[in-house]
């Protein structure tokens, strides 16, 4: 497969600050590549380098050309914090940016694609934050680009709008458009990306498919039990072979499959330990992110909270039960075994 984007040993310095430190990257034709990393990691600088809007050391090729020499009709860009003229309507903005290209998609088609057909004649400044961002995505699509760079495309968009835009991007990807997107939404990157790269302090510290990264860096599934008797609970579970760690008001049990939940509940019942809730979650890209960046949430039970939050975003991998329902959970688990 041909490479749509290639970066080799890309380095960018702002005085003493190293924004990009020898980044090597390749994105294949038709691939969706997600770039994640903490604020200040260099994501936006890398997008700027790839689109030729900042000068860097190293080699970059987009569609086989230097970024500043690539045919502008073939690339699309949504810069971070981009805001077009506020007193033009959505339709006028699409017309305006479309008018800058050799060939442009039909304005109505784009408005429909980004879900703004009904608000096409509203001024940009009167649209909601999510609608404004959709206009911006529409602007990035006006020339039907082969390679699309999206720097935090869904920032400020409500969940429904975000999922709507995800569908837009998935349709583009299905049509063969190469997409490089940055995001702080792990759910977004996990859903959209064929491969993910994690930037940390200007270095690309991990690259792989979401599944590969999760397998390598995400850890196992975990069960978080909220209880005031964390130490006693951890001891009881450890005695039965569980990998349990006590936090001040909870226990984190690593490597627990759904069918093991009932066993853990049985151990607690046998030890007469009360608990408030059980939360089970599979590892996700957010766990990879936290693991590789070294970031943690403050306070007790932090990792469990992170896992829960992540899984909640996916809405398919979390199970939460309160203490009163635990017996039902145990029964259900045992029934599941049978």
């Amino acid at each position: 497969m041909d490479e749509a984007v290639v970066a080799a040993d890309v380095t960018k310095r702002y005085g003493e600050t190293v924004a990009l430190d020898g980044v090597d990257l390749s994105v294949a034709d038709g691939e969706v590549f997600g770039l994640i990393g903490p604020n200040g990691a260099g994501k936006t600088t890398l997008v700027r380098a790839l689109t030729g809007t900042t000068a860097v050391d190293g080699e970059i090729a987009v569609e086989g050309n230097a970024p500043t020499a690539v045919d502008p009709d073939r690339i699309g860009l949504l810069p971070q914090s981009f805001s077009p003229p506020a007193r033009l309507t959505a339709r006028e903005l699409i017309d305006y940016y479309g008018g800058l290209y050799e060939t442009a998609r039909e304005t109505d088609e784009i408005l429909s694609t980004v879900g703004l057909a009904e608000d096409a004649d509203s001024y940009y400044e009167t649209l909601s934050g999510g609608q404004q961002r959709r206009v911006c995505v529409g602007i990035a699509l006006v020339n039907d680009p082969d390679v699309l760079f999206l720097d935090e495309p869904t920032t400020g968009i409500d969940p429904a709008g975000r999922r709507s835009l995800w569908s837009v991007l998935e349709t583009l990807a299905d049509g063969g458009t190469t997409i490089l997107l940055t995001s702080h939404s792990m759910a977004e990157v996990q859903r959209l990306s064929d491969r993910v790269g994690l930037l940390q302090a200007g270095r690309l510290v991990a690259v792989g498919t979401p599944a590969e990264l999760i397998d390598t860096h995400g850890g196992g599934s975990r069960l978080v039990i909220d209880t005031d008797a964390a130490d006693a609970a951890a001891d009881a579970l450890a005695a039965e072979g569980f990998d349990a760690t006590a936090e001040p008001t909870s226990i984190i049990v690593e490597g627990v499959s759904p069918v093991d939940i009932g066993d853990a509940v049985a151990v607690l019942s046998a030890a007469d330990i009360a608990y408030d809730s059980l939360t089970w979650a599979e590892p996700s890209l957010e766990d990879v992110y936290l693991q590789l960046t070294g970031e943690t949430f403050e306070g007790a039970g932090a990792r469990g909270a992170a896992a829960t939050a992540t899984a909640a975003a996916d809405s398919t991998t979390t199970a939460v039960v309160d203490g009163d329902s635990a017996t039902q959970a145990e029964q259900a688990t045992q029934e599941g075994r049978q």
Binding site: G76, P79, S83, Y96, L100, E102
Partner: protein, 252 residues
């Protein structure tokens, strides 16, 4: 898509953006009206008393026109560049076929239209409210290249200011600081005789001087030479336009 069509797309967006900022539209046209009313009607010219406004009313037409030719492009283009930079629009435009020259040309065209209308308004008010004589038709026609050249020049100057100033506030402050002395020390409202002798050569350094002298020659003193003033203005216009286009940010 041809270059002309790209410029038209940019100019159309800029024109609509301007028209829909009602405050900007109001003050763009109210400012020169205010000047004409204050100086032409309230203060009035005093041909026999000496001091400021001692010349006949028609003498000051170049000064009134200079206010819009100078202030409007400086502040509009400078602010537009600052706004584009704040909103990352240049980063977006850098990935489109639109060039920096085309961008500045489009915004210059819009400024020519705005300032052309404001100039017509000033001309009408000066003729209506003061005892200035109607310039000859040839003089009115020759006003066009003078106004266009000056607008191009100061659009380029505005682009330079926009590049150098960090913020929109900075652009406004810088443009006022530069424009105000230029307005009064460019043979517009203050004659050379009212200035110290040593200051005379400095007046020749102001681009606005050539606008004022040329416009005065074609509207107030027919027969006076104007070709040199127009030529200097045109050369400066090209130089400032090129410098301004080059100064427009494309990268960080």
């Amino acid at each position: 898509m041809s270059r002309a069509q790209r410029i038209r797309a940019e100019a159309t967006a800029a024109w609509h953006s301007f028209l829909r900022r009602r405050t900007a539209v109001f003050f763009t046209f109210f400012f020169p009206v205010l000047l004409v009313v204050i100086f032409g009607v309230l203060v009035r010219t005093q041909p026999t008393d000496g001091g400021l406004f001692a010349e006949p009313a028609g003498y000051y037409l170049p000064g009134y026109l200079a206010t819009v030719v100078l202030f409007t492009p400086l502040s509009r283009v400078g602010s537009e560049i600052a706004r584009h930079r704040d909103d990352n629009r240049f980063e977006k435009l850098a990935t489109t076929p639109l060039t920096r020259v085309e961008w500045l040309l489009a915004h210059t065209v819009v400024n020519v239209a705005i300032i052309g209308l404001a100039s017509l308004l000033i001309l009408g008010l000066v003729l209506l409210l003061t005892d200035a004589a109607v310039p000859p038709l040839s003089g009115l026609v020759l006003l066009i290249p003078f106004i266009v050249s000056a607008v191009v020049l100061f659009c380029g100057f505005g682009a330079l200011l926009g590049r150098l100033a960090d913020t929109q506030d900075g652009v406004i402050a810088a443009s006022n600081t530069i424009a105000l002395p230029l307005l009064f020390l460019s043979d517009t409202f203050i004659t050379l005789e009212q200035l110290p002798a040593w200051f005379g050569p400095l007046v020749a350094l102001s681009p606005l001087t050539y606008f004022a002298r040329g416009v005065r020659a074609v509207t107030y003193a027919p027969g006076d030479p104007y070709a040199t003033e127009l030529a200097v203005l045109a050369v400066l216009a090209v130089a400032f336009f090129v410098a301004g286009a080059y100064a427009i940010p494309r990268t960080d």
